[in-house]
Amino acid sequence: MDNHSLLSETFFADDDRVDGLAKVTGKATFSAEFKPAGLTHAVFVCSTIAKGAIRHLNIYEAKNAPGVIDIIYHLNCPDVPGFKPVDRTTNPNARSFTGLKVFYNNMVVSNGQPIALVVADTYERAVYAASLVKVEYIKENAETDFEKNKFNDKLLKPRPDYVRNQKDAWATAEVKLEEEYTMPIETHNPMEMHATIAVWEGGKLTVYDKSQGPKNVQGELSRLFAIDEKNVQVITEYVGGAFGSGLRSWPHVHAAVIAAKKLNRPVKVTLNREQMFTMVGYRPQCWQKIGIGASKDGKLNGIAHHAVSNTSAYEDFTEGISSVSQYLYDCPNVFTTYKILPLDVNTPTWMRGPGPASGCFALESALDELSYKLNIDPIELRLINNAEVHPQSKLPWTTKFLKECYALGKEKIGWHKRPTTPGTLKEDGMLVGYGMAVGVFGAGRSAATAKGILKNDGSLLLQSAVSDMGPGTSTAMVKIGSEQMGLEENKVRFELGDTDFPTGPTQGGSGSATAVGSAVIAVCDAIKLSLKEMAIETVAAFKNFKPDDIKYENGKLVAANNSASIHFIDLLKEAGKPELQVSKSSSGFAQRDKYATNSFSVHFVKLHVHPVTGVIKLKHMVSAADAGKIISEKTARSQMVGGAVGGIGMAMTEETIIDHRYGRYINSNFVDYHVPVHADVPPMDIVFPNQPDYIISPTGAKGIGEIALVGVAPAILNAVYNATGKRVRDLPVTPDKLL
């Protein structure tokens, strides 16, 4: 068991990330590292109260500090057209801006809110000057305590309750339980902190930004600053992790653009770690209650799943936490509710596996609890209730290989060694526990466009305005391009992260491979067709053929009866063309009325718990994922491992703490906010049924990013129970909770 090693897995061939070398040798340029001529450096002054108004902001001393170019705040901030309330009577389609309107007025809506921007000639001078800005507030009582307020009368109901048959049928079941599950705020902490450089030249805006969706940022900046999209270029070539924090543009992006415009100089705004906590979102705190019941033989009778999560006082953020209970298992009676609680904090956002990550923590814990009450193996219980068709829509899934995941993972982890009575197995004096849980996320395909440039040196360049925050999008696209065109991988390049490229989707919801991959396939098909037409036109031997009579094989065009063949390199030369350019779109998935679409995962954990101190040591983890076809094995595996590490953080270490007297985060740094470190991460095995789903997209892929994390935390908590007989329903499970 213990001779597994993160690197020794021989299941996969060696296939490196195409941008790996650039990243590890420092050659990759991240957003904060661009150096446009005349670059200035800007640093935020942030509020130190959670609610109220700025009475007076004294910038005198700061303004006179060395190197300071300007200080921008609500009284001198130029108008941002898109911040104004929209008039729907004149423009019914106008989109109103819902985020924090930076420097818009003197209101303070959360602690750590950016209230002024100090621009200086160096970063250090900006930091110092920012410390000299003095702020007087008119303070109001702020409410940041989720625990205390989770049932108060300010709760909002973003969506109607869901009822399938009877609401509370679970309560009449032969075997039942009702429990509450809670988890704290989990803050976005990618290694690379957010940064934006804005450059205005003439009427054109160029923005270097850490983002998961350059096109999305372009659209938003165009609306906010009332300039044509074609005059906004967003560049986001490399992203050092984002996990959802880059799904929208935050105040620092707008502030950089405002400042660059006001000063007519390039401005860089970089966030520090503390500001990452107050400005780029987080997984909201949530409370859940599950009532679940089954017959003695384990058939589910009813689930009632209620959830409340927090949002900010100025924006409604929702993520459908309890929805998983509607479709993960076959259950006749289901009732789900979801409410959000506005608090005087910054707005949450999506974080890896948003919704199901929190929902599955409760549902998959409850199912585990039920399995003990029923005395049925937890995997068996899930198989008994396996949904053959989508229980809500009754549609078949495009593909579903969840059962295969149970089987593969069970074998790898050594499930047969699991003690059926908790707290009874010991190894080296440690309590041993095994646990498992399921993860799920929506799959699908959104629209995307790509461009292909096939050159007469035998290479193919692919482009799309998407971003790669780490999953290995470039690597996967190179693989698809290489496979489609029969070219060596080193002859194919994929360029991304520039809005001048054809439109691609925002990277999120595990959808890049299917969307962009489909566009790449469409481009390759179109290139092949063009080559065939070119051959018919320019090469005598092909003259009498139709495109359909010509095959494309490994770079060669071959006529039907093998009477003629020519390599595209020679063809392009003969045609006098250095290259062939094609842009192509692929549409979004259009069969939602026929199919249900999901990716699934099953996570298995073996762990030790110290019987005296309660310290948990993970010993082995196995994740099995029904992610469709695995396009790039190494990056797919890395995604799974990364997701599992995120799940370890959610289960065991991560917790953002607010001092409610001040409404202020008090562990907003890497010493006190614990992300897992290497020592916490056990040897891991990743297994894939690797079954293509060609209904969703021609790539065969379904998506990995979210299911890599969803379900990991409950698998760990379930294993903790198996080891100790202690059920922890409040994340994270730190040693003090197991005493």
Binding site: E124, S131, T613, G614, K617, R661, I666, A679
Partner: protein, 324 residues
């Protein structure tokens, strides 16, 4: 910018003189604590006196014990043969601290002098009597999961964060200090202070004084263990830690020296427990009783009540591990 002067000194005397002359000067060794405090605005020395060139990097031994220079990196001390052989407890404690990278930079002197990790101390927008006397204690009625259960005052409930110091306290080490008037020896137990009415003072080192080495007397402890309980398996400060050094002969405890970390403003010696253990045999009940005695008189706050139970568990476990 907050400018500061930077000077390098090459003798202990020059360093002491330089610091004595300028009250707003501070020594810098590995910089792993001081630089963070400067970046956070917690401290703003007018002059940094770099002591890294001083000849304080030796580990030596004689009949009386082992001496470790103040500038020996934590990692070097932890892996030193003499230390492992004569004082395995110290090596264990050093290795339990921080991360490999930090241990490479952190020095023995700097480790002794490191400041508390109380989050209110680090956030200059918050009240903190230690950072700014009379401003109030943010932690007392705030978030105090990491805070003291022994020896706190109504001014400050912070803990000393070091692992190394817990072992040094148990090993009856002496801190050797250079002053303008020559060398001075401070027993480890007297080095760090309790907060009392002056939480701004962490220890009894006077302004201008320089730690040159620590001396660990030879001992007869043949059973040693350092146990650290933390929120993640590396790179986290102790919730509680226990350093156990026992002299055991024929199953009977002849002498004992035990200290706890993560529970007080200084490494917390368990003198009552030590007295109790002498003459006792190694049994689970004895250890349980020792744990009860150890935690007698603990005072907890809103978020750290778990430390009593965890502290007892940790003592039992450390004694058990030391004596297997």
């Amino acid at each position: 910018m907050i400018n500061f002067e930077y000077i390098r000194t090459s003798s202990a005397k020059a360093a002491v003189d330089a610091k004595t002359k300028n009250k707003a000067a501070q020594f810098i060794a590995g910089g792993t604590n001081l630089v963070d405090l400067m970046k956070k605005g917690v401290t703003a020395p007018q002059r940094l006196i770099d002591i890294n060139a001083l000849p304080l990097k030796e580990i030596t031994t004689d009949a009386k014990g082992v001496s470790i220079g103040a500038l020996v990196p934590n990692s070097v001390a932890a892996e030193n043969k003499l230390v492992i052989e004569k004082h395995p407890l110290l090596s264990m404690a050093l290795n339990a601290g921080a991360s490999a990278q930090l241990r490479n930079m952190a020095t023995v002197g700097g480790n002794i002098m490191q400041r508390t990790r109380c989050p209110y101390f680090y956030d200059i927008t918050m009240p903190c009597n230690k950072r700014q006397p009379q401003s109030g204690c943010g932690a007392m009625e705030g978030y105090n999961r990491m805070h003291a259960i022994f020896g706190a005052s109504d001014k400050c409930i912070a803990v000393h964060p070091s692992d190394m110091c817990v072992a040094l306290a148990a090993l009856n080490a002496t801190v050797i200090v250079n002053t303008t008037k020559g060398e001075k020896k401070i027993p480890f137990a007297d080095f760090h202070r309790l907060p009392g009415d002056t939480p701004e003072l962490d220890n009894n080192l006077a302004a201008g004084e320089l730690i040159t080495s620590v001396h660990i007397p030879a001992n007869r402890f043949n059973k040693n263990y350092y146990l650290k309980v933390r929120d993640r398996l590396s790179y986290a400060f102790a919730l509680v830690s226990v350093a156990v050094a026992l002299e055991v002969k024929d199953g009977i405890i002849k002498s004992a020296s035990i200290a706890m970390g993560g529970v007080a403003h200084k490494p917390w010696r368990l003198t009552e427990v030590e007295k109790y253990l002498i003459g006792k045999s190694i049994t689970a009940n004895v250890f349980k009783e020792a744990a009860e005695i150890a935690l007698t008189g603990a005072k907890t706050y809103q978020h750290n009540a778990y430390k009593i139970k965890l502290g007892k568990s940790a003592i039992v476990e450390a004694l058990t591990k030391a004596t297997v």
